[in-house]
C-alpha cells in the first residue's frame, strides 16, 4: 500500500444501520489520490448510469467525507465533503479545516461514505474500534456552538466510560450541520469549529436529508506512516519555514480586505453585486481588529494562522463569537447586505455560521431577496417586514426564517437560482426576469471576488469554466493551471492558505505516498482525469435541472453590466475574452468546442466508461 493512507474507509448504510470497512486498490488511489478526486470516482462507481435521474436527496445518494494522503501531515489539515451536489447536480470537493480530519486518520480511517437515511436524527462516531451510529435527537435543532459543547461533553464522557484509565480524554474532532442543514436549506454547509464551512455544493442539506447531525472522531493511533519518513519530516520543516515567513498573512489573515477589496480593487459584492466599489472608512481593518480577542489562531498543523478570534462583549450582539470574520464573510455577511459596521458584520457572520448556512451562499440568497425587495418584486407582504439594505435586524430575522424554512424563507432556502425560478412563478414573471439578478454559475453562488474591474485574482472565464460553479477556491484563472493546483490541494486535502510552492508540495506528496507523483504527472494526468470526470457528471445533471454546454458555461448577467461607480466605473467583463479563454481551456483538457470530453481524452485518462454518456451529449 502507498504511504500516507490509513488504508481503510467506513461504509455506512444509515437505513439498515450497517457499518462495514472498505478499501480501494493502489491504482484507484494513484489515479484519484484522495478527497475531491477520489470522491468523484467513488460517486461515479456507485451511481453510474443512474446519475441523471438520481435526486441528491434520495437515500441511495452517497455523502462522502474524505481526507487525503497529505491530510494532517502537510500543513493545514482539512476534510473534504462531497457527493452529488443538491445545488449544481455535479460534484464539488468542499473542504474545511478541522481537527476531525486528523482524528479520523488517527482512528485508522481515511474517510466515511454514507448512504441511506436514518429514521431519527443520528450522529456517527469513529474511534479506533470502528464506527457507530449514535442517537442525536437531543442535538437536532441545536446551533453550532451548542452542538460542539454538547458533543464535546457527551463523547468525552463516553470515552472515559470505555477506557477510564488512560489519562484525560481529549475532546474529539467533529463536523456537523446547523438548523439550516437539518431543514435541507439547499445551499447550506457542513460546519466545523463554529466558523469553518465546507460551504460550496450544499452538503449541509445532503447531510440533513440523511438525518445525520454530525460526524465525530476520536483517534488514539499514529498518523498513517509516510513512505519516506526522513524526507517527509524534513519537508514538513521546510514547508513551515515558508509559511512562517509569510508575515503579512499571519498578521492580518484576510481580515483587512473587507475595506481594501472594495476600495482598491472594485471587486467586492455590494448590495447583491449592484456595485463592487465602496470607500467606507467605517469598514477599515483596524475597526475590525478591535474585536480580535486572539490575534493568532491556527488549525491543526498550521502556521499560517490566518484566523483571529473575534468576540462582541457588549451591546445588542453581546456574546457573538467568530473568526476575523474572513474576507468572504466580511463581504457576504456585510457589504453585500449593505452592512458597513464591523459589529453588525461580526454578528451576522456568527449567526450565519451558527445556523449552518454557508457564509457565502446563504447570504448571497439574502442579498438577492433584498434586491427583489428594492425592485418591489418582493413586498413587505411577501416577506413579513421591510428588507432594506443595511437593516441588520431584518437580515437577522431573514437568516432564521431561511434556516427554519418559515414563510418566504422556505422559498429562499432553495438557494438563489431555484428561488428565482420559484418567485418568478409566484409573481407571474419569466424566469429570466429574475435570474438576471442571481449571481451564480451552475447554481452555485459566486464567491466574493468579481471579474468586472479585472483587478482581482479572478478574470473573465474564471468562474464560467469552473466545474464547481461559483466556488472561488477552484477557478480556472488564465486557463486550467490554477484549477490544477486547487484540485491538488482538495484531493491531497490540505488548506489552500498553506500552499508553499509546487516543487515542495509535490516532493512532499511523493515522500508521503511513495507514488511517482510530479508536477507534470498531476498537470497532465491526475488533474485532467479528476476535472474531466467532474465536468462529465456536472453536464449529465439531475432530475430537476440540466446545464446546457457553452450557454451555461458563462458568467451571470450581472457580471456583464458596467460597474456603476468608483475608479473602474464603466468597466465590465469582456465577453469575447470569456469565450476565447473558455475555448482554450476546453482544448487544453481535450474537450470538444462545447466542453464535452472527447473519446480519445476519456480513453487516455482511463475513464472510457463515460464514453456512452458523452457520446449522447456530443450528438
Amino acid at each position: 500500500m502507498p504511504g500516507g493512507y490509513a488504508g481503510k474507509f467506513l461504509d455506512v448504510d444509515l437505513t439498515k444501520e450497517r457499518v462495514k470497512e472498505v478499501s480501494f486498490d493502489d491504482k484507484t488511489l494513484w489515479q484519484y489520490f484522495g478527497g475531491r478526486g477520489l470522491a468523484a470516482k467513488i460517486l461515479w462507481d456507485r451511481v453510474g448510469k443512474k446519475w441523471e435521474n438520481l435526486d441528491p436527496y434520495a437515500p441511495e445518494s452517497p455523502l462522502i467525507v474524505l481526507t487525503g494522503p497529505m491530510t494532517g501531515i502537510y500543513p493545514g489539515g482539512r476534510i473534504c465533503v462531497s457527493g452529488k451536489s443538491p445545488v449544481s447536480m455535479g460534484t464539488v470537493g468542499s473542504t474545511a479545516s478541522t481537527e476531525f480530519a486528523h482524528e479520523l486518520r488517527c482512528a485508522g480511517y481515511d474517510g466515511v461514505i454514507f448512504t441511506g437515511k436514518a429514521e431519527k436524527p443520528v450522529y456517527f462516531l469513529v474511534t479506533n474500534d470502528g464506527g457507530e451510529i449514535m442517537p442525536a435527537e437531543h442535538l437536532w435543532g441545536k446551533v453550532g456552538e451548542e452542538t460542539i459543547k454538547m458533543l464535546n461533553r457527551e463523547v468525552g464522557e463516553e470515552m472515559k466510560k470505555r477506557k477510564p484509565n488512560v489519562g484525560i480524554w481529549r475532546e474529539p474532532g467533529m463536523v456537523y450541520i446547523g438548523p439550516a442543514g437539518e431543514n435541507m436549506v439547499r445551499n447550506s454547509g457542513v460546519m466545523s469549529k463554529i466558523c469553518h464551512a465546507a460551504g460550496y455544493g450544499g452538503y449541509g442539506a445532503l447531510m440533513g436529508s440523511k438525518k445525520l447531525k454530525a460526524v465525530v472522531a476520536k483517534g488514539r493511533g499514529k498518523m498513517p506512516a509516510p513512505d519516506a519518513p526522513e524526507a517527509a519530516k524534513l519537508l514538513w520543516k521546510k514547508a513551515h519555514q515558508i509559511l512562517i515567513a509569510n508575515s503579512e498573512m499571519r498578521r492580518y489573515g484576510t481580515g483587512y480586505l473587507g475595506y481594501t477589496v472594495g476600495a482598491d480593487l472594485s471587486s467586492e459584492p455590494i448590495k447583491n453585486w449592484q456595485t463592487e466599489w465602496h470607500d467606507e472608512k467605517s469598514y477599515a481593518g483596524p475597526r475590525f481588529e478591535q474585536y480580535w480577542v486572539k490575534k493568532k489562531w491556527a488549525d491543526f498543523n498550521c502556521t499560517t494562522n490566518c484566523m483571529k478570534v473575534s468576540c462582541i462583549k457588549n451591546g445588542r450582539w453581546k456574546g457573538d463569537i467568530t473568526d476575523l470574520p474572513d474576507y468572504e464573510l466580511q463581504a457576504y455577511c456585510g457589504t453585500n447586505l449593505g452592512l458597513f459596521e464591523p459589529v453588525d458584520n461580526i454578528h451576522m457572520s456568527a449567526l450565519i455560521d451558527n445556523l449552518g448556512h454557508s457564509g457565502i451562499n446563504g447570504p448571497n440568497t439574502m442579498g438577492f431577496a433584498a434586491e427583489l425587495y428594492q425592485r418591489k418584486i418582493l413586498t413587505k407582504k411577501d416577506i413579513g417586514f421591510e428588507l432594506n439594505w443595511g437593516d441588520v435586524e431584518a437580515f437577522t430575522k431573514l437568516a432564521w426564517m431561511i434556516a427554519k424554512r418559515e414563510g418566504i424563507g422556505d422559498v429562499l432556502a432553495e438557494g438563489s437560482y431555484r428561488a428565482a425560478i420559484k418567485i418568478a412563478e409566484m409573481k407571474g414573471k419569466k424566469p429570466e426576469e429574475l435570474l438576471k439578478y442571481v449571481v451564480h454559475v451552475k447554481g452555485i453562488e459566486i464567491g466574493a471576488h468579481g471579474t468586472r474591474s479585472d483587478m482581482d485574482y479572478v478574470h473573465d472565464a474564471s468562474y464560467a469554466g469552473n466545474v464547481q460553479g461559483g466556488d472561488h477556491t477552484s477557478t480556472i484563472g488564465d486557463g486550467y493551471s490554477d484549477m490544477s493546483d486547487a484540485i491538488f490541494a482538495d484531493s491531497g486535502v490540505f488548506c489552500d492558505f498553506c500552499r508553499t510552492n509546487r516543487e515542495l508540495e509535490f516532493d512532499f506528496a511523493k515522500a508521503v505516498t511513495g507514488f511517482p507523483i510530479t508536477v507534470e504527472s498531476w498537470r497532465k494526468e491526475t488533474g485532467p482525469r479528476i476535472v474531466t470526470l467532474q465536468r462529465a457528471l456536472l453536464m449529465l445533471g439531475g432530475p430537476d435541472l440540466k446545464w446546457e454546454p457553452v450557454k451555461d458555461d458563462d458568467n451571470p448577467p450581472r457580471f456583464y453590466e458596467p460597474l456603476p461607480e468608483g475608479p473602474y466605473k464603466g468597466k465590465t467583463t469582456d465577453k469575447k475574452r470569456v469565450d476565447q479563454k473558455l475555448m482554450a481551456y476546453f482544448e487544453t483538457l481535450g474537450w470538444d468546442e462545447r466542453g464535452i470530453p472527447t473519446k480519445e481524452t476519456l480513453k487516455r485518462l482511463d475513464i472510457a466508461d463515460l464514453e456512452p454518456y458523452m457520446k449522447k451529449m456530443r450528438a
Partner: protein
C-alpha cells in the same frame, strides 16, 4: 541544566498543535498526537490549552506510584518512567493535580514529558512560529510550578471568560 523549565502562556497558544507533532516526531518517530507528552486541548474553538508536566517541586505522581516506576531525572528534574516497572494502574494520573500523565496508546504505560533531556522540541517549534506560548526559562524549582499542573478544562473555563466576557461562562 537543572534549572530549566517550560513556562507557558495559555492565551498566546494558537492551537497549531505543532508542539504535539514535534514531540511525537522526536519520541515516537512520527506524528502521533495522543502519544505526545504535550497535548493541546480545545474544549471550545478559540480556547486552546497546552497540557504538559509542570515538574511540581513535591512530585505527587512519584509518591503515588505503587511500584516506584517514577523517578526524578537529576539533570533536568523531569519525571522519568521505568516502563518495565509501570503496571498501568493510573495512580500517577489521579495523584497529579492536573491529571497530566497519559497511558501511552501503544504500550499503555505511563508517559510523561522528559523535557527532551534538556532540549525541548515543543518549545523550539512554538518559538520558531513566534507564538511563544511555550518558553524555555532558566529558573530554579519553585512551589509555583504546581500552579501550572491543572486540568485543561478548568484552564479553558478561565480563558473563556478572559476572551469572551460573560458569554465565556457558558461555552464549555
Amino acid at each position: 541544566m537543572a534549572n530549566i523549565w517550560i513556562a507557558r502562556d495559555y492565551a498566546a497558544c494558537s492551537g497549531c498543535k505543532r508542539c504535539e507533532i514535534a514531540c511525537s516526531m522526536k519520541h515516537e518517530g512520527w506524528i502521533w498526537p495522543e502519544a505526545s507528552r504535550i497535548r493541546v486541548f480545545m474544549p471550545f474553538p478559540g480556547l486552546e490549552v497546552p497540557h504538559l508536566c509542570a515538574q511540581c517541586s513535591d512530585y505527587p505522581c512519584i509518591g503515588s506510584c505503587p511500584t516506584k516506576a517514577l523517578s526524578v531525572d537529576p539533570a533536568t528534574k523531569a519525571v522519568l518512567v521505568d516502563r518495565e516497572k509501570c503496571i498501568s494502574c493510573g495512580a500517577c494520573v489521579r495523584a497529579c493535580p492536573g491529571n497530566v500523565p497519559i497511558m501511552h496508546p501503544g504500550d499503555n504505560k505511563a508517559t510523561i514529558c522528559n523535557l527532551c533531556n534538556g532540549d525541548p522540541e515543543c518549545v523550539k517549534v512554538c518559538k520558531e512560529a513566534g507564538y511563544n506560548a511555550l518558553m524555555l526559562v532558566d529558573e530554579g524549582p519553585s512551589v509555583n510550578r504546581k500552579l501550572f499542573s491543572r486540568h485543561p478544562v478548568e484552564v479553558a473555563k478561565e480563558l473563556a471568560v478572559y476572551f469572551f466576557g460573560e458569554k465565556g461562562e457558558e461555552v464549555i
